[in-house]
Amino acid sequence: MALTAGPGGRTARSWAWVGIMPFLAFALLFLILPTMQIVVGAFRNPEGAFTLQNIANLFTPAILGSFWISIRISFASAFLGCVIGFGVAWAVTLGELPRWLRGPVMTFSGVASNFAGVPLAFAFLATLGRVGLVTVLLRDWFGINLFALGFNLLSFWGLTLTYLFFQIPLMILIITPALDGLKREWREAAEILGASPFQYWRMVALPILWPTLLGTLALLFANAFGAVATAYALTGSSLTIVPILLFAQIRGDVLGDPHLGYALAFGMIVVTGVGNALYIWMRTRAERWVK
């Protein structure tokens, strides 16, 4: 297709495509082929013949449980991240907060959205771990023992709370440009026609932002679903979310079946792939309005 790249149907062969060959070769060797290896492996038995058995083997209570807790944590942290991040972005762009706050909030969001992985786990252990600052203060000042109440960082809520530390800032970074894109004329037009602020948001602003919001939700979901390091560094395997299970499988074949590992990885691609396909689709819809 690149052979006739010139306009006007030039017949001379264009060699322009050679220029992107290094990049395409790199992408093929280190991104596409390795992924294909996993996908193909998921549908092969040890002898190399086609099989659906690996996929079927995923449907055990243990593995399904892993997927279910992973999906729940990812969705909860993505949803809360969206709602809270939207609130903060709204407050600093259109809300009542002074303008000068916007710069620091955006900078901090850039930092916090990249502060993930092992150090984030340490920070939350120092805060809400057994001898963490908040745990100790609550116990000494208010007599509340978090752990007696059943709180544990390695739980649904503990991990969700930890993930929110990078999910909320990511939402702020993505949604602020979209809020800036809301034209003043739309609001004025709505007000002239007698709309209340609530009606303006419900009938004008939110429908315009809707694709961006849903799309970002999908991106945040994938972001949390693929995260390994934070959960791993919180130590213990008491909460076997899918990436942790896959990590253990790659290291030491804990499932006792290499091809089940392929199927597990394939399942992860499917889940994040669906999330991101949704994101890309929603974004192309959103860009039609917000320019």
């Binding site: 991104l31 992985g117 990436p243």
Partner: protein, 262 residues
């Protein structure tokens, strides 16, 4: 309106508590190593640890190599696509977004299986080969950020005119790329580079699964065995991330000044 005001400030206050409490707690915890008094003992112990120095040095070197590799790969490609192959842009953009879709753990799993010792290209067989795999893995992780930064930078300049001007003065492709295009997108490249640095320096999954002595796995091992040192390292890691983001802002601001003067 007053009520709205109140809610805005209240939500900001809650946000500050949520975001600053872990940072304060980590810092406070890192000072508690010596019984009864606050001290920087944990930092001193960590910084003197030869394993810290070795793994941190390894990760810094890795991050710098990743930046070089990313720039060499992305700048010519993004330039060429904009100049000659605009119809390929959606394809290239799609490829650069793939690392956001495919989790890093799956990509590295693919490397381990595809380049194992019994394969055609047994990269995992030697330390050099595995280092190289980690390097390309990091380049893949940084691809979405690097490509977007450079592509945005290229959009702001008229590359067709610049290229023709350079060509009519007798410049070859290498000269055009290195002495005309690169200086013009330097700020974008630097933004991508700092972001890459922040991502690579503490990366855990790929380094751990490829068994490389990087900073991320060292952090994790230390976290499992020690109490106060991990907190000190978390503070250091946060400082590095902060420095990277600050540098991005700084170079972007510098560019605004120069373009305003022009």
């Amino acid at each position: 309106m007053r009520l709205q005001h109140f809610w805005a400030w209240l939500s900001l206050a809650i946000g500050m508590v949520y975001f600053f409490l872990p940072l304060i707690a980590t810092f406070e915890f890192s000072l508690r190593m010596r019984r009864g008094v606050y001290s920087f003992d944990a930092y001193r112990v960590v910084l003197a640890d030869p394993n810290f120095q070795a793994t941190f040095g390894y990760s810094v070197a890795m991050a710098l190599l990743t930046i070089v590799m990313g720039v060499v790969l992305v700048v010519p490609t993004a330039y060429w696509v904009r100049l000659k192959l605009p119809r390929w842009r959606p394809v290239i953009e799609f490829i650069t977004l793939l690392p956001l879709v495919i989790p890093a753990i799956v990509i590295v799993f693919g490397y381990i299986r595809l380049y194992n010792t019994s394969s055609m290209l047994p990269l995992t067989g030697t330390a050099t080969g595995t280092n190289f795999l980690l390097l390309v893995g990091y380049t893949v992780l940084a691809l979405p950020y690097m490509y977007r930064a450079v592509d945005t930078g290229l959009r702001a300049i008229d590359i067709a005119t610049l290229t023709e001007a350079a060509q009519s003065l007798g410049a070859g492709w290498t000269t055009i790329l290195v002495r005309v295009i690169l200086p013009n997108v330097l700020v974008a490249v630097l933004s991508g580079a700092f972001l890459t640095f922040a991502i690579v320096i503490g990366e855990f999954t790929m380094a751990a699964l490829l068994n490389r002595p990087a900073f991320g796995p060292y952090l994790q091992v230390l976290g499992a065995n020690r109490a106060y040192e991990p907190a000190a390292l978390a503070v250091i890691a946060f400082g590095i991330t902060w420095a990277c983001m600050g540098l991005i802002q700084l170079v972007t601001r510098l560019q605004k000044h120069t373009s305003a003067r022009r």
